[in-house]
């Protein structure tokens, strides 16, 4: 059977703000096949990290919850899975590299032990055996002088090195799904390319599926098989990477692509070229969330939210697409 490894169906995440509940991720659906890379893109605050945390079950339960949807991983719904079973998956079958390499390692523990811990936990080997595997992992993520580095503490490593340690930790047990949340934003440009190449090499070697979160459409062009563009917590557009770059439908996607083209012609300002800001999730109304920044907004955009539509491979949530369809019909 050709089931996707991960399939997220109508996922919504909401913030419990006192009595009210604010939806931060709304009805997001996508799926990832084995060995495939799916990129989740969008401006800051659009819900990328929350989507990732919901998948691996690490949402801050005190304020956040999955309010609807299913997350099918190898055929099992992670949302209804018990805490113990979810724990057995985490670190083993599903691993994550966080957005914050500088603070994601325990400052008072040697990095070798921190990586070994995940192996000991899931494979039940001795710490000494796990530490031997750690040396191989450090080689794998191209940390030179592994034996010495394993004895060091996080503060003795640069940001790039710490992110490699996080990647080594995530790959230690060859997970089926690797979630990488902006694994390179905290790093400088030369290191960024190296870390991405590393993730891609490892994906190929272990047939890992990668959910890669990024702001950067340049990265998307390099890495992605499929792309999901999020805007204010909802999917604006999703498609295969080539299709998305060749035939973007949503004005937001076009804006992003315009930004990257300017970037290629020299200006380095990423997504700032789309005028205006992402709306506050609390203030979203019945209309399209993007309309205030959209040059092609129509009357219907103010009153009704466009549904996500299109064929199975390329879908977008914009009234323009609907109008186009009706014109062609």
């Amino acid at each position: 059977m050709n089931l996707p490894l991960l399939s997220v169906e109508n996922l919504s995440v909401s913030l419990d703000a006192g009595a009210a509940s604010v939806p931060l991720v709304r009805n997001v659906s996508f799926s990832i096949d084995r060995g495939e890379t799916l990129c989740l893109v969008g401006e800051s605050g659009c819900g990328k990290s929350l989507t990732a945390l919901a998948i691996i079950g690490l949402l801050n339960r005190e304020v956040m919850q999955v309010s609807s949807g299913r997350i099918l991983f190898e055929g099992r719904d992670l949302i209804s899975l018990g805490a113990g079973e979810m724990r057995r998956l985490r670190g083993d079958r599903i691993a994550i590299v966080f957005q914050e390499p500088m603070t994601s390692l325990n400052p008072v523990q040697r990095i070798g032990r921190q990586i070994a811990e995940v192996i000991v936990e899931h494979r039940g080997v001795s710490e000494a055996d796990a530490l031997k595997q750690v040396l191989r992992l450090l080689d794998l993520v191209r940390i030179p002088d592994a034996a010495r580095r394993a004895q060091e503490f996080p503060h003795q490593l640069s940001g790039g090195m710490r992110q490699r340690v996080m990647i080594a930790m995530a790959l230690a047990l060859q997970p089926a799904l690797l979630i990488a949340d902006e694994p390179t934003t905290a790093l400088d440009v030369t290191i960024q390319a190296q870390v991405l190449t590393l993730i891609d090499d490892l994906r190929r070697e272990f047939d890992t599926s990668v959910l890669l979160i990024t702001h950067d459409l340049g990265v998307v062009a390099e890495m992605a098989d499929r792309v999901v563009v999020l805007y204010a917590g909802s999917v604006a557009e999703q498609a295969d990477v080539d299709d998305l770059f060749d035939r973007p439908v949503h004005p937001y996607t076009r804006g992003l692509l315009g930004a990257i083209r300017q970037l290629n012609s020299g200006s380095r300002d990423r997504l700032a070229e789309i005028p205006g800001n992402v709306p506050n999730p609390v203030s979203l109304d019945a209309g399209c969330a993007f309309r205030k920044r959209c040059a092609s907004a129509m009357p219907i955009c103010h009153s009704e939210r466009p549904p996500l539509q299109g064929d199975g491979l390329h879908r977008s949530a914009c009234w323009l697409a609907k109008v186009g369809e009706e014109v062609m019909a």
């Binding site: 690490l58 691993a95 994550i96 966080f98 603070t103 400052p107 811990e117 503490f153 503060h155």
Partner: protein
């Protein structure tokens, strides 16, 4: 690490020196004639003069200070004006119960406070958190003698599990000594449980928000392992600090408890000596307490470095 410890040791020298100067001046600069003061109200002028010469009070201040420091360093603290026993001997007799009582109190406090603080941090809205935090307010506000009398009334007079008062020295056996100090230690421990539990809760709450705790969850670890391997070691510094300060404060400040339970310890020696104007004893005690603070601080600093490699390197 050795360099770090030596550095902390050297940093302690000026502190001790400042205390020494203060203690010395305390006696030299009290208004009136120190020789007359020491000789007492009924001394004849000859006697006062004899005291003056015996203490070297007729010499210049700096010289007096230096010779006084010399004697202090050799452990010669002079004679008690009241009992005529050497001060060092007096203190040696009294230090045992106070030391054991302080240790017992702090051990009891840590055993209760750290788990309570942990649970309170993990379940901020749970029963344990509410009871602990309300109890902490009580622990701070109820005077120690009230707790002491309540315990004596129930456990000593009522159930007869423990003696009402008094101390059995170690020479009569460790068990007897500990047994005689159980009630005083429990009454003292309430305040320290309150203090340490609050600090533990605050420190753990802060660590729980850290990204590396999320990383530990991402590895699939169970809560218990996350607490023991990642949370406690990172929350240790403030907890150790408050334990250290608490211990130092106990050594010098158990006057009320020692009085209630009539334990012949340092607290009562301090109170008695001040009331009797037994200056050599008071001087020696102040120096001792300052020394205790310095040593405890040093121990705390070393523990910081044990727990946090960023300090060590």
């Amino acid at each position: 690490m050795t360099g770090y410890v030596l550095g902390r040791l050297f940093a302690a020298v000026p502190v001790l020196l400042a205390v020494a100067v203060f203690v010395f001046l305390l006696l030299s600069l009290v208004p009136g004639d120190p020789a007359a003061l020491i000789a007492g109200d009924f001394a004849s002028p000859q006697q006062v003069e004899a005291v003056r010469q015996a203490l070297g009070l007729d010499q210049p201040l700096l010289q007096r200070f230096l010779s006084w420091m010399g004697r202090m360093l050799r452990g010669d603290f002079g004679l008690s004006l009241f009992s005529r026993i050497p001060v060092s001997q007096l203190i040696a007799q009294r230090i045992e119960p106070t030391l054991i009582l302080s240790l017992m109190t702090i051990v009891i406090a840590v055993l209760f406070a750290v788990p309570l603080g942990l649970v309170a941090a993990y379940r901020p809205k749970g029963v344990v958190a509410r009871v602990t935090m309300a109890g902490a307010v009580l622990g701070f506000s109820v005077p120690v003698f009230v707790v002491a009398f309540a315990l004596v009334y129930t456990l000593a007079l009522g159930l007869r599990w423990f003696p009402v008062q008094g101390y059995k020295p170690l020479s009569q056996g460790a068990w007897a000594a500990l047994h005689s100090l159980v009630l005083p230690a429990i009454s003292l421990s309430f305040l320290y449980i309150a203090l340490i539990a609050r600090v533990t809760r605050a420190a753990v709450l802060e660590v729980l928000r850290e990204d590396y705790v999320r990383t530990a969850h991402a590895k699939g670890l169970a809560n218990r392992k996350i607490v023991s391997r990642h949370v406690l070691s990172n929350a240790a510094v403030p907890i150790i600090t408050v334990i250290g300060i608490g211990f130092a404060a106990l050594l010098g400040g158990v006057v009320v408890t020692e009085t209630v339970f009539s334990i012949p310890g340092l607290g009562r020696l301090t109170a008695d000596s001040i009331l009797r104007r037994d200056y050599p004893v008071v001087q020696a005690l102040i120096l001792l307490f300052a020394g205790v603070y310095v040593v405890v601080n040093l121990a705390v600093d070393i523990l910081y470095a044990v727990f946090d490699p960023r300090i060590r390197y």
